[in-house]
Symmetry: C2
Subunit: 230 residues, 2 copies
């Protein structure tokens, strides 16, 4: 993990998202309460049970939010990308994290002292509303996706996750899976073996091509149908 100190928050694309109604002077003092950290792929950003001292968000990269079940088994809650407020779930209601977070790709995280943010909320009502909005969307989306997946059969789930990476994350039909087969299983609640089996089925049915972690979706229409009816 590498720490960066330069501060140009005023120009950051992020400002539009949530700090839109925060004044230039407020942004200035935020710089004094902020630091950035760069994590390499695979590194753990947050450990379940860690104390919460900062409000933070993902400036760049891809992470997984997960919960340890056994020593060798996790349960993945969701995958978050740039501009997602990954730590948001528990930040305002508890002193310690309920979930762990790890980098799936090299990632840059911005940390702002939680006390500073809480003060900003108190002083700047519009910022408070913007934050409520963002938080509401974040958790609502996690719930929606989990409900959605839980009612699909295994083929539907695999179709869903392929379309998720293709559509929501990489926006292309050819992409490298950022997670292992085991992690896919942990994310959509099935066994590793069945993830592999169904990927092979899809390959045999000419809907996708597979080369290790590289996936090409050759028949997105059929995949969408399987996702919907599944």
């Amino acid at each position: 993990m590498e720490i960066v100190n330069a501060c140009n928050c005023e120009l950051c694309v992020f400002r539009k998202l949530i700090f839109n109604n925060v004044s230039a002077s407020e942004m200035g003092s935020m710089c004094e309460n902020k630091h950035e950290a760069i994590y390499k792929k695979g590194q753990v950003i947050v450990n379940e049970g860690d104390e919460i001292n900062d409000f933070f968000y993902l400036r760049e990269g891809l992470v997984k939010i997960y919960k340890r079940v056994h020593n060798d088994k996790d349960q993945i809650l969701s995958i978050a990308k740039s501009f997602d407020f990954v730590g948001m779930l528990t930040v305002f209601s508890d002193t310690h994290y309920h979930y762990s977070i790890a980098a799936l790709e090299d990632s840059t995280v911005c940390y702002v002292k939680l006390d500073f943010i809480k003060n900003l909320i108190k002083k700047n009502g519009q910022f408070a509303l913007d934050l409520l909005d963002k938080m509401s969307k974040t958790s609502d989306d996690i719930i929606k996706v989990k409900l959605d997946i839980s009612k699909k059969n295994l083929r539907g789930r695999i179709a869903y996750i392929l379309l998720f990476f293709s559509g929501k994350i990489y926006e292309t039909n050819v992409f490298d899976l950022p997670i292992s087969r085991k992690e896919i299983a942990e994310l959509i609640d099935m066994t590793t073996e069945n993830v592999i089996r169904i990927l092979s089925e899809f390959r045999k049915d000419k809907m996708i091509r597979i080369n290790g972690k590289t996936i090409e979706i050759t028949n997105p229409e059929m995949l969408k149908k399987i996702c919907e009816v599944g």
Copy 2:
């Protein structure tokens, strides 16, 4: 549905929960932007897709939050009781409800004009923080419970839901189930037949007594064990 207009919010037990940092004068003007409604058991309080105009909470009673899947099948997200902020999930991030809400027991709901609440958030920073806290807890809890249930087997799920009603809702070992077998199935993601089958198993194993909707838990220890290992 019966509408009530009397206003004694200042004395309401609710005030402690979330309006603790709202001044007497603010509470006074809140009364002018508030109304209460009483729903009979079975009545629908919110319909998926309805426009959101109010911030509301459950003052008294028991409700289910659910999503329509097919015409005769729902997916129940959670059961909320007095002091729960049932409509909170979507209120601040969308204009229309994503879920339906229906009364499982006679229930009293307090509605406050959303615009008024948003103004209060802008003016009263501590109230904004209190709201963030509450909202964070609410959604976090829903996610936690759903994750928890999804990794249990069917016996574990039934044990869980019996302990939930016994411990969290009614705080006694003898209680009337507020929902049908079908609704239990929709809540913990299984079929009605298996809900019944496993309840019968538990009865044969002398862990519970069943008389229609009335349940008596005679061996809570064993039930807890089944819930944990399941």
